[in-house]
């Protein structure tokens, strides 16, 4: 078990290094950010001075090593545009993104698993048909368009929810978040729903498929034959086995929530990391792009890591497989 965890950690580290290298070189290929930043009347001397001040005149490998050693110390360099350390900007924007993704994640799980379970247990009921149609539209509808429809419906036609920004913040227990205020909730609920719709629909379909499949299995029939109450069969036998494939999907989708935040934050003008990333790409703010993409990748690698561990605790059969692989 421990050797397995260590191996996975090592693998993850290699992936992170590889990724940062790919990104660094890739971004370097796009062009010199100085050309975008300096005014058109600037002289060649100005240009060189700007490059020198940003450390862009050093050879590429040296730039990368400097970047790497700084990154290891938590220093991602200064944004070309904002002229302040990238970390500060990221930290300032992070709470908004986490808020949105967190609410979306909880919303997705709380709605999709019961709905999928129901649709799988009563596949022919009208409610199940509704759930399936809803989820089909949900997986097909592009996130940005669906967000716009929500804005039209609840922000304009029926103006009951505010559009844009996080709303009022409040600090309790040393945490500042908009989730402590009603206004904050009013702001977050629509973007969160928009963000989670795709994931929710996907999870519904996966849950339903797993439920349908598992319901037909002998151990479920055997559980009923033992006289086990229906809800206990559903929770203890069907759901518990359905969780095995679900954990993987949930893990991947949780990461996707942060990635799709890029779209949702743009549609809803949410002051989070996603919006920042898009703006950084548009103005070629190199340290910003590299830091954000690396940070997201780190997050993904971490999630994959956790999913593997979770898998092992839920499905005892995995332990045998993993143990063998790890040995």
């Amino acid at each position: 078990m421990i050797s397995f965890v260590l191996r996975r950690l090592f693998q993850s580290l290699v992936v992170v290094l590889l990724l940062s290298l790919v990104l660094f070189v890739g971004i370097w290929l796009i062009g010199n950010p100085v050309d975008v930043m300096i005014s058109s009347e600037a002289t060649e001397a100005d240009r060189l001075a700007a490059m020198h001040s940003l450390g862009l005149d050093k050879p590429l490998w040296e730039q990368y090593l400097i970047f790497l050693s700084n990154a290891a110390h938590g220093d991602w360099g200064a944004s070309f545009v904002y002229k302040v350390p990238v970390t500060d900007i990221l930290m300032q924007r992070l709470p908004a993104s986490l808020e949105l993704a967190g609410v979306a994640f909880v919303l997705a799980i709380v709605i999709s698993i019961p709905a999928g379970l129901y649709a799988g247990l009563r596949p022919n009921s009208p409610i199940a048909r509704f759930i399936m149609t809803f989820s089909l539209v949900g997986v097909s509808i592009p996130t940005f368009w669906q967000g716009m429809l929500l804005i039209v419906a609840f922000g304009i036609a029926l103006p009951i929810l505010p559009v844009g920004d996080r709303g009022q913040l409040a600090t309790h227990f040393g945490v500042t978040t908009s989730l402590f205020t009603l206004d904050g909730w009013r702001h977050v609920i629509m973007p969160a729903f928009s963000l989670c719709l795709l994931k929710m629909s996907l999870l519904m379909r996966v849950t339903r498929a797993a439920t349908v499949e598992i319901s037909k299995l002998d151990y479920v029939k055997f559980a009923y034959a033992k006289g086990v109450r229906t809800w206990k069969v559903v929770i203890g036998h069907i759901l518990r086995n359905a969780l095995v494939p679900l954990i993987t999907v949930i893990g991947i989708e949780m990461g996707n929530l942060l990635a799709y935040g890029v779209i949702t934050e743009t549609v809803f003008s949410w002051p989070g990391l996603g919006q920042l990333l898009i703006n950084s790409i548009k103005v070629l703010d190199r340290p910003m792009i590299v830091a954000q993409l690396t940070y997201t990748a780190l997050l993904f690698i971490f999630i994959n890591f956790v999913v593997d561990i979770l898998h092992m605790t839920i499905d005892p059969r995995m332990k045998a497989v993993m143990g063998r692989r790890g040995a």
């Binding site: 971004i27 796009i30 940005f144 779209i263």
Partner: protein, 395 residues
């Protein structure tokens, strides 16, 4: 059981949803292929666009914009005559101290009379504060009256600046127009063309590359397999939108770059699927037999293993076209996808985004519906094909 294409078609036809999704998908492919012939206008022809048509709602007529007519009149012996091409503007006396000027057919947005002799004025007009110019907006029946307390001189000159009103043509914008006055129906048809093109080319290229690598991994095994599959795991670890964004951040926008980004995202799905299928195929006796016959490796793979993987690959292809279209539209929406000059559906929706707050909903509603229906149809089609391929669902 029922093998062959006819049997497959018959089983496919058992599901009305499947048939409907196929019909809709074919319809969109038809639109994509024949967009230049079926669309009412060419949305890429910037010279045909006119601002008078901008942001017109659904069902509005295309307008011929009004024009300005400048004309000098000379009155000699009480009779007025136009100096030059009158273009429907006329002036007739209506008594000693009265002259009517205008367009008899009506349809004037405004009429301005300049340089009248002293004492003359124009009925119902506003006079320019300094210049001797009298302007009547929307003159009744297109005519204005020049009057004077004293009789008008026998000979004098004056000028007319007439603006004809915009007037509708028979051409109807069935889905309204965008901010450039572009017919949305045509833009959507061309948008479908671009989206379908990007989807098919990207998913198709990914199919060829991914399946090739998957088969290679399955055949060679060992280090080749390990490298390819680690790369697949690596790719699958990250969400497609982020990979696409990162690639376009590096490469910049453009059709070929979007296609490339989608290929980089999607090849791994094919590689994983085809490798798994090929591995199970390679374990079967007929492959062993083919190996014993010393058939070349590529021949066994292409002639024996590939055809057995194909049904599932095709299912994946159908679903991936839909995914590619969705990804392209998302990237275009974010402004890193396709260029503005050739809008895909995603770009059309993005362009319309700013207008939803002023309730000009048609700009993004209709392209959105088209995009949604297209993606749903392809997803349903893929699901149906998968169900037919899945022996477990046979009973």
């Amino acid at each position: 059981m029922n093998r062959g294409f006819v049997g497959f078609a018959r089983r496919f036809a058992e599901s009305p949803v499947g048939v409907a999704s196929l019909v809709v998908t074919l319809f969109f492919i038809f639109c994509a292929l024949f967009a230049p012939w079926i669309s009412p206008t060419d949305p890429y022809d910037l010279s045909k666009l006119q601002l008078t048509d901008a942001l017109k709602p659904v069902g509005a007529h295309k307008m011929v914009p009004g024009e300005e007519i400048r004309l000098d009149f000379a009155v000699t012996g009480g009779k007025a005559s136009a100096q030059g091409d009158a273009r429907g503007i006329s002036a007739e006396p209506c008594g000693d101290n009265c002259l009517t000027v205008g367009m008899k057919s009506g349809g004037l947005a405004s009429l301005q009379i300049r340089n009248l002799p002293k004492g003359a004025t124009v009925e119902g007009a506003t006079k320019h504060p300094i210049q001797p110019w009298w302007t009547v907006a929307n003159p009744k029946d297109g005519m204005v009256k020049i009057t004077s307390a004293d009789p008008l001189p026998r000979d004098f000159n004056f000028s007319v600046v007439a603006k004809t009103a915009d007037h509708p043509t028979d051409f109807v914008f069935r889905l309204g127009t965008d901010a450039f006055g572009r017919d949305m129906l045509s833009a959507i048809l061309y948008g479908i063309r671009i989206s379908v093109f990007v989807g098919i080319v990207a998913a198709g290229t990914a199919l060829v590359i991914g399946t090739g690598l998957g088969l290679l991994a399955a055949w060679r095994g060992g280090v080749t397999d390990a490298i390819i599959m680690r790369a697949v795991d690596f790719m699958l670890g990250f969400p497609s939108i982020l990979v696409g964004l990162a690639i376009l951040a590096v490469l910049g926008s453009g059709v070929s770059k979007v296609v490339l980004a989608i290929v980089i995202v999607q090849w791994s799905y094919y590689a994983r699927t085809s490798r798994a299928l090929a591995m199970s195929e390679l374990g079967k006796e007929y492959v062993e037999a083919a190996r014993c016959l010393r058939l070349p490796a590529w021949r066994i793979m292409v002639r024996h293993v590939l055809p057995n993987c194909l049904p599932q690959i095709i299912v994946l292809f159908t679903l991936n076209i839909a995914a590619a279209i969705a990804l392209e539209s998302s990237l275009s929406f974010l402004g890193v996808g396709l260029p503005l000059t050739q809008p895909s559906l995603g770009m059309l929706i993005a362009n319309g985004y700013q207008y939803i707050f002023s309730r000009q909903y048609w700009l993004s509603l209709y392209p959105g519906i088209v995009l949604l229906v297209m993606i749903i149809a392809m997803n349903l089609l893929g699901d149906r094909l998968r169900d037919l391929n899945n022996p477990r669902l046979d009973n």
